[in-house]
Subunit: 400 residues, 2 copies
């Protein structure tokens, strides 16, 4: 058993929350490569060093705390959404810190920690861990562009000479990530722990329609090529067509819309919008992509508009390691008998990429109201401590 | 006959175009109260003074060139859309300058000029002339806010001590405005001059839906309150319902959309968008407003969302002065026999507000391809000169 200290764990969680605190509830604003994101990583590096771990930075800006020799890796990410919560990512990083620190103090197994960069996808999807796992080409990564036209290379420059070389994955025997569920299932059913069976696949693409910008008073409706009307028609049509393809677990979202020139009295000539869809079945993701591409082409043809698809970002569905899952189930049953379940992850996580490099797994703790990616995100601190103990127990079973 | 000089008129038009030139074709970027807008007004004030006219600025920043005593007023506006053309507004101001200057040189009738402020509606709709005509409350005007949250009072401060008092409308016997059509009718029918019968009414309102911001991967579709989906459903439903109410001349536009937080992986919790509609019949504008309000309330109820309507901006349909129209028709027939027509204006103009203060009228010249509110806006220079001569002839008939 690894003698974790719940109070020290919670104190570090709140210390990290203070870096980039939004001032709204427990909200945090710490997007990838922002000054607060970098400050948080410097603070983590200090904590890793105090715990006797060797600090290492990779070329993306992910920061590691390394035990000597071969070790078991734990962690998550410390960057946040534009309006994020205090636990999304941070929980898994601080749990890793506490478990590795406690193991080292007790002369336990060699455990290492990591906070991956840009998990929230300012430049893509789990950008930092994807580049390490080469799910994202390492040469392409620096050329990715955010919504404001800034390249990853330009943003990353703010990290200066912290950046080092890629680590050899062979030095790690496995990876485990604790995370909030970010959904309503555990909260609604009174579950304390979710042992993740698989992480759903996700695809994300920017779509552009180009029509004709014109005067909103003198252009008859039948002569318009209105980019917003094209977007609205596209959205209604895919909603209808997806009905024949999806399951209750399938989700899709248009979360970002940029109209041009975006003025009251101008028929919008251009729109760029994000189309993102998720499912546990790769074939279903393919069928949805075909519907999206066909429908966009139909709308563009009907309205006489230009159409452009951005590059497709995404990660395939990933099963979690069977041995890790057995250890997590045993630890959960020991800590909270009957109050845990196996479940899929509807959210993408760095563990998806780690599964390409080593045996990987995840456990969830409840999200109050299922709310996340919002300042209102929260979890009962007793549930956070339960998650810490279950993870420490499972890691001990895997490394003893 | 007032001896206008076409070359001097065109030279001044191109000189004004150079202030805020976009560098794309003949495009101009000169939004209300921007440094280039103020520079253009200072240049106009200089030209007015050189023509022997008394320069006066009102509290909104509209700039006048005044003939002594009672006079006939001509003009338009020199501010532009965020991406504007070189003629929208500028044409009417420079035509007024040339006709007043030529009349003064020839000892003709007393003619005055004006360039109204913010016709393009950074802060509302024809803001400058509306405040003078008290179609917009003069105390409310400074509190209007643009898309970036800047108040008119804050933006106006850049004009410093230029600003003066309101002019007494009683010193003017009438108002005439020349403008590009900004639509396809004259261009497609080979017409050289449009004599405006009436200016359509316009209504403009911001609508907000507020749902629940949440994670785009873990929130099942049936549990979402997605603000973009509410906007899309609203748009489709009003498009269907308007069919039973509108005529081929009716137009409506959603030109501005602001999603919050506007990120790929977040179900959008809020949207604010512009709804603008135009028609020559005030009753039809009312019926459309009722459909808009009822439909938005239905969508909000169906999706369990908050709904907020912004303040309604707009101008009622306005008939042009009958005597002015007779003079314009006679002048058009004299200059371009058979190549002119009477027509409504689908675009709103400062003349709508002037009609509240004095007899008012408008004439149109063709827009190539009907394009405006775009860098590509243009008109054949021969057609500009035809417009100048027809307007000079009509003004002479009204002031002799």
């Amino acid at each position: 058993m690894i003698p974790v200290q719940p109070d020290r764990f919670l104190a570090d969680l709140h210390a990290l929350r203070a870096i980039g605190a939004s001032g709204v509830g427990k909200g945090v604003v710490r997007p990838a490569y922002s000054p607060d994101d970098i400050a948080a990583r410097d603070w983590l590096a200090g904590r890793f060093a105090e715990a006797g771990l060797e600090v290492a930075w990779d070329p993306m800006g992910s920061v590691f705390g390394l035990a000597p020799g071969q070790s078991f890796l734990m962690g998550s990410h410390s960057d946040t959404q534009p309006e994020g919560g205090w636990l999304d990512g941070a929980l898994g990083v601080i749990a890793a810190l506490e478990i590795a620190r406690a193991a080292r103090e007790a002369g336990g197994p060699p455990l290492s920690c990591v906070s991956f960069q840009d998990e929230e996808g300012r430049f893509g999807v789990t950008t930092g861990s994807a580049a390490w796992a080469q799910a994202l080409d390492r040469e392409t990564a620096p050329t990715l562009v955010d919504r404001d036209g800034i390249t990853l290379a330009e943003a990353r420059a703010a990290m200066g000479d912290r950046l080092g070389d890629w680590l050899d994955p062979a030095r790690f025997t496995g990876f485990m990530e604790m995370h909030i569920e970010q959904g309503p299932l555990l909260d609604q059913t009174g579950g304390k722990i979710g042992v993740v069976e698989a992480i759903v696949g996700i695809r994300d693409m920017v779509i552009r329609f180009e029509g004709q910008q014109n005067h909103a008073g003198t252009t008859p409706m039948h002569m318009r090529a209105d980019a917003f009307q094209a977007l609205s028609a596209f959205n209604q049509r895919i909603n209808e067509r997806f009905r024949n393809v999806v399951t209750p677990a399938t989700v899709w979202t248009i979360g970002h819309v940029a109209l041009h020139p975006n003025a009251h009295s101008v028929v919008p000539g251009k729109v760029a919008f994000s189309m993102q869809w998720r499912d546990g079945d790769a074939d279903r993701l393919d069928r949805m992509e075909q519907i999206i591409r066909d429908t966009a082409a139909e709308i563009a043809a009907e309205k006489g508009m230009g159409l452009e698809f951005g590059s497709m970002l995404g990660v395939p569905p990933v099963a979690m390691d069977a041995g890790h899952r057995r250890a997590l189930c045993a630890a959960a049953e020991a800590q909270v008998p009957g109050a845990w379940r196996e479940m899929p992850s509807g959210a993408l996580h760095d563990a998806s990429n780690m599964a390409r490099l080593m045996p990987a797994s995840m456990l969830f703790v409840p999200s109050i109201g299922g709310i996340s990616h919002d300042f209102a995100e929260d979890t009962d601190e007793a549930d956070l401590v339960t998650g810490l103990k279950v993870m420490a127990d499972a890691v001990a079973r895997l490394t003893s």
